[in-house]
Amino acid sequence: ASGAQGPALVEGVGLGMAGADSDDSLYPIAVLIDELRNEDVQLRLNSIKKLSTIALALGVERTRTELLPFLTDTIYDEDEVLLALAEQLGNFTMLVGGPEYVHCLLPPLESLATVEETVVRDKAVESLRKISHEHSPVDLEVHFEPLVKRLASGDWFTSRTSACGLFSVCYPRVSSTVKAEIRQHFRTLCSDDTPMVRRAAASKLGEFAKVLELEYVKSDIISLFTALASDEQDSVRLLAVEAGVSIATLLPQEDLETLVMPTLRQAAEDKSWRVRYMVADKFSDLQKAVGPEITKNDLVPAFQNLLKDCEAEVRAAAANKVKEFCENLPEDSRETIIMTHILPCVKELVSDTNQHVKSALASVIMGLSTILGKDNTVEHLLPLFLAQLKDECPEVRLNIISNLDCVNEVIGIRQLSQSLLPAIVELAEDAKWRVRLAIIEYMPLLAGQLGVEFFDEKLNSLCMAWLVDHVYAIREAATCNLMKLVEKFGAEWAQNTIVPKVLGMANDPNYLHRMTTLFCINALSEVCGQEITTKHMLPVVFKMSNDQVANVRFNVAKSLQKIGPVLDSNCLQTEVKPVLEKLASDQDMDVKYFAQEAISVLSLA
């Protein structure tokens, strides 16, 4: 041992084991802290992410007495490092010695909750919320609540913003005097000078209301809600809408009309479209919160207005809610309300000038048929479906097609099939490959709904045409589609209708099409079963092992590996093995590689 280590170590030597705890200190923490201070941000970040490892190495006591003070003192770093730190500290309770000591984590988290960068602050608040539950009621009042108060009265807006998220976690577990203080702090923040703070308060208002006693919801929260909902900034007002929904769920029915409805009505007619958008977006929640009577009297006209709003954004948000709104209408008057109030607006939206509105509507409109029943659907909805199926925008048509199953249950798909077909064909040939891809994905669904005859007659040729699409993703999806069709229609259907066509492509002059044959075989062998595979597909695969293009040949090896499990062992030994062996001595290295891989996977060596 050398004395150069400094007094701590010398003492350690002298005292031996007894002094172990105190001596051992300085040195390793210095090393670890060096890591946390490394000049390279990436290394610093890595170290912070492993902070729990460092804490483990130090043990609980030294984590409390050395590591945490260091972290608290040196919080000036890149936001990315701070973010990692804020996250780590949320999981540190055990590492500082359990709930009894969890308050040691508060000082560094408090600093983190005041930094500028929102992401860091939010993470610090999240961690604080997490560890608040680990505080005993006493610790909560002695350590946690004072922290919340400090943050709430901080100079710079960041700390006040963070405080907003902490009230609701401590409120339920503190004494009534402290509760009163907390309510007072929240009130102050709701009328803060800085819009950022008011936004934070507005976004936490609903959450805070939930933990308050009902009397205070009525006395405190309502006035705060009313004030925030008429804030000068629309960004604050729109957040109040969501809070309003939460508050409405807390109040008894008889108070709703006087306490929240005036404000919500005003929000639905706000001059800023952002606020109206928010109302539209939260409409279903709102409907549930206020109950059937208010829905009938207030929400129906409000919803009509939103569907007719002058901004497309608002109309689209409302259109998205049409089905849910109708579904949740009180049963006794549901049909009347839909037919007389909602449907006329829906009809107008079908020919809206904005494609997003139309497509939002198209994604839900089919759902109305189950609510309205067969006769109404045929008479009123069907014309709308048909109009949307002819819409100029592919997205609208796709949304209709993707929801066909709803209509099928009510009126059967036949009613639509005449219009459906041209729409499908047009989408199938759309210039954008992603549109084609989307319609392929609906093919199995359509096939199931339309039945095998209709399919063979009208759609089969489309499915085959996709196999030779010039975009790989389409060919790949088409292959997968075939497999799903066979699952639906059975192996016999496959043998008669698609297998011959697929195998025919093996002679195509384009090697990409020849490869498609192999990909189809990969997908189909299992669903088609051993017999078809051995009898019809395998010979074609063997033949292709002599293809002049190496890509085809190594795909033969891959195919054999893939379909091997479907074949019987005799066939594998006598037929597959020789072909793979030949490929394994191919002059192309990739062919060799995949042949050898197949041999070993199929255990043919």
Binding site: A1, G16, E116, T194, E313, Q355, A360
Partner: protein, 516 residues
């Protein structure tokens, strides 16, 4: 979601629009298709149906033909007439009335700019009402939420034929020699300014240009509103930086601030310094920096010129927010740093040279040649060169390693050539130090490598410890910790830790794991 602007990022619409599912690339194409409608109305008009028609307005007699007694009354009437709003979306109706209003506005512009004595007190509320009615509105949602001002055409305000004249009129009003701020302040108040500031988000650059001048005049004439204006601009910036990352008028606001900063009295107030550090510096992190960097850099340099003692915090701030992945922004920041260095005082330079040149050294070694090139151009700047020369003993060792390495490794021949020149300049500055650095280059590299290996080893051991501890945690934490510290201490004595601290800690950890 495709072109539906969500009202707030935190509340981003959760439903992915179908077209996104369909085609991740539609954004551009959809947007281009929409371009046919490149004008949009303000949110106040319903698109199409069910709007009550605007009352028809008919032309009043010309102001210049009226007798002086009637003139004022006529002026008031015309102002009221201009409060009637027309829907410019609709290009067929109200054509005559629209033309009447246009002609009236244009006459009003002439009237307030050429005549003296027309701004009597009762005119002030009428004028502000007319202006407010015409320009204050909720801006419509952007048709294109990822509007890229560098690439896309902005959506222009449809009612511009009227609105332009209203702005014009308002400016002439503010600039009229008879204009009395003391009278006007009752009408042009905080609420008015707040609404005006929100219009800076307009996508129409013509409108922003007018508002900029208007706000500048208001800031100049209404001393009582100055602090309020600055605070609200701060709020806009903070929301832009930390919440929405979307605001069209950042460049215009910074331009106004540039001239405001110019007028700050010395010593600078704490409020102004806070603005510099908490807003201007973090603005550099914004995604859209390219759109307002020139104005931003101007503001920053203004501050440093006013008060050179701010140099250190500014430079350290910029280094903290140095772009990690965006080379374009890196080039911009290098430009800004050069602007700062152009005006830096030598004593201030000494305070920041080390962290600054560590960053410059990284930039010089950037694989992106534009970044490397921009950094190497510093050596063409006479003043910077003199600063480097004066402090070469500090700067040379920082720069040398990377310069030497990329002179051999960089893929771009232009960079290699520039690096040779820089190395030559540095060698001429201090050939003795240069030779020493060349000689020790290899050793230094090896030492670094060794250190790196030791680090890895340290972490490997720590990780092992972590794994074992976690698995043992349920069994008995206390016992483990006890053994752990005892063993550590025993082992301490057997090692000479001076040479290799990392090895020491890992060794004792090893003994600990062994003990278990």
């Amino acid at each position: 979601a495709v072109s539906l602007a969500s009202p707030q990022p935190a509340l981003e619409m959760s439903a992915i629009s179908a077209s996104e599912k369909v085609d991740g690339f539609t954004r551009k194409s959809v947007r281009k298709a929409q371009r046919q409608r490149s004008c949009q109305g303000s949110s106040q008009f319903a698109a199409g149906s069910s709007r009550p028609a605007a009352p028809e307005i008919s032309a009043l007699p010309q102001l210049k033909d009226a007798s002086s007694t009637e003139q004022h009354e006529l002026f008031m009437q015309k102002l009221q007439q201009c409060c009637v709003m027309f829907d410019f979306y609709d290009t067929v109706t109200d054509l005559k009335s629209k033309e009447t209003k246009r002609a009236t506005l244009s006459e009003l512009v002439d009237y307030v700019s050429t005549n003296r004595g027309v701004l009597v007190e009762p005119a002030y509320p009428e004028i502000t009402t007319m202006v407010s009615t015409n320009i204050f509105r909720t801006l419509p949602p952007s048709e294109n939420p990822d509007f890229d001002p560098e690439e896309d055409e902005p959506t222009l305000e449809a009612s511009w034929p009227h609105m332009q004249l209203v702005y014009e009129f308002f400016l002439r009003f503010l600039e009229n020699p008879d204009f009395q701020p003391s009278t006007a302040k009752r009408y042009i108040d905080q609420k008015f300014v707040l609404q005006l500031l929100e219009l800076f988000d307009s996508e129409d650059p013509r409108e922003r240009e007018f508002i900029k001048t208007v706000l500048h005049r208001i800031y100049g004439k209404f001393l009582g509103l100055r602090a309020f204006v600055r605070k609200q601009i701060n709020n806009i910036f903070l929301r832009y930086i930390y919440e929405t990352e979307h605001f069209n008028g950042v460049a215009e606001l910074l331009e106004i601030l540039g001239s405001i900063i110019n007028g700050f009295a010395l010593p600078l107030k704490a409020e102004h310094k806070q603005f510099l550090m908490k807003i201007l510096i973090p603005l550099h992190t914004a995604k859209g920096l390219a759109l307002f960097h020139a104005q931003l850099a101007y503001c920053v340099v203004q501050f440093i010129e006013k008060d050179p003692t701010l140099t250190e915090v500014v430079v350290r701030g910029l280094l903290k927010f140095w772009p990690k992945t965006c080379s374009q922004k890196e080039v911009m920041l290098l430009g800004e740093i050069e602007e700062i260095l152009d005006v830096i005082e030598p004593t201030q330079f000494k305070k920041i040279q080390e962290p600054l040149f560590k960053q410059i050294s990284k930039c010089v070694a950037s694989p992106h040649f534009q970044v490397a090139e921009r950094a190497l151009y510093y050596w063409n700047n006479e003043y910077i060169l003199s600063l480097i020369e004066e402090n070469n003993a500090k700067i040379l060792p920082i720069m040398f390693g990377n310069l030497y390495r990329i002179s051999e490794e960089h893929w771009n021949p232009t960079i290699v050539a520039l690096v040779y020149n820089v190395l030559k300049t540095l060698m001429e500055m201090n050939s003795k130090l240069f030779d020493e650095l060349t000689a020790s280059y290899k050793c230094d590299r090896q030492r670094e490598k060794k250190k790196e290996q030791e680090r890895e080893e340290l972490w490997r051991k720590l990780d092992e410890l972590g794994l074992q501890e976690t698995s043992a945690i349920q069994n008995n934490r206390h016992e483990i910790q006890f053994t752990y510290s005892n063993n550590n201490n025993n082992n301490n004595n057997l090692h000479d830790k001076d040479e290799n601290p990392a090895a020491a800690i890992t060794d004792r950890i090893e003994s600990n794991t062994w003990a278990k």
